[in-house]
């Protein structure tokens, strides 16, 4: 590419990561678009019921690159959500693939809704 070598650090803008949250009886799935990040640059943590997400999108080109068109730049994505107590935070899984972070929060076993058997006469 035209801009070889290690990109210089440039100031990153901080934006809110767009997410989907999908609920089922078994789990809560949170997906966040974080294109251009990497596993090492994503930090997910739970603290007192709050899930905090922070992902850095580093510069890919030299700071001196003369862009003909520039619609995105180095970014820090953040997001914080309060998570209910019904999820087992010790069993949360996180996977980053194709620029999308997927978090799976299983429902605590004892608190899963149970189907009530119906008998008829």
């Amino acid at each position: 590419m035209s801009s070889t070598g290690s990109p210089k650090t440039s100031p990153s803008i901080e934006v809110t990561a767009p997410i989907d949250v999908i609920a089922s009886e078994q789990e809560l799935v949170i997906r966040a678009d974080l294109p251009g990040s990497s596993v090492e640059l994503i930090d997910v943590r739970f603290d007192e019921g709050t899930l905090s997400l922070r992902a850095t999108i580093p510069p890919r080109q030299l700071e001196s690159t003369a862009y003909l068109l520039r619609e995105f730049a180095p970014t820090v994505y953040t997001r914080s959500l309060e998570i209910g107590e019904q999820f087992d935070l010790d069993q949360v899984s996180a996977d980053y693939e194709s620029g999308v972070l997927t978090l799976r929060l299983p429902v605590v076993q004892a608190k899963k809704p149970r189907r009530v058997p119906i008998t008829g006469g």
Binding site: M1, S2, S3, I13, E14, V15, T16, A17, P18, I19, D20, V21, I22, A23, S24, E25, L28, R31, A32, D33, L34, P35, G36, S37, S38, T50, S52, R60, Q61, T65, A66, Y67, L68, L69, R70, E71, F72, T75, Y77, T78, R79, S80, L81, E82, I83, G84, Q86, F87, Y96, S98, G99, V100, V107, K112, P113, R114, R115, V116, I118, G120
Partner: protein, 150 residues
């Protein structure tokens, strides 16, 4: 919620629904953030960057969640088209508690500043960023002119 008096069976179903509602009630509450509004990834068109050197045009596009085979790239002289499908997987609409990511087909057409050689385009997809390396057409490359003494 009290649901006395419902017909046999319906009462149990109503209670089951109540249980489900309780499980997911207040599951998520947004914590105020200092960050700016949600970026334009939400929009159906992917965001692009473009730059060049003497012989090549480079374009990178944000396409999170897509595989190379889910993307179509067309190039013709000085026009580039990037198309893809970010339709949601089979998921009931009611299962979404929050839905901010793009779930649509997109088609972005960009006029290139110089003609390129479509046969020689290289595409690379890494962590949701599509990078296209497009050699310029011969007529678009700078030519060195020998200056002779008169």
């Amino acid at each position: 919620m009290t649901r006395f008096g419902l017909p046999n069976g319906l009462d149990a179903i109503a209670r089951l629904r109540d249980e489900m509602d309780k499980v997911f009630a207040n599951v998520l509450r947004e914590v105020p953030s200092l960050g700016s509004a949600i970026p334009s990834i939400l929009e159906s068109q992917p965001r692009l960057n473009m730059w060049e050197d003497e012989s090549t045009l480079f374009v990178e596009a944000e396409v999170p969640g897509l595989k190379l085979q889910e993307l179509d790239v067309y190039a013709k002289d000085d026009e580039l088209t990037i198309a893809g499908d970010r339709s949601a997987p089979e998921q009931a609409e009611s299962d979404f508690r929050t839905r901010e990511r793009a779930h649509t087909k997109f088609r972005r057409v960009v006029r290139l500043p110089v003609p390129i050689n479509p046969e020689l385009i290289e595409a690379r997809l890494q962590q949701g960023i599509l990078t296209l390396t497009m050699p310029k057409a011969e007529c678009a490359k700078p030519k060195k002119i020998d200056v002779k003494l008169g």
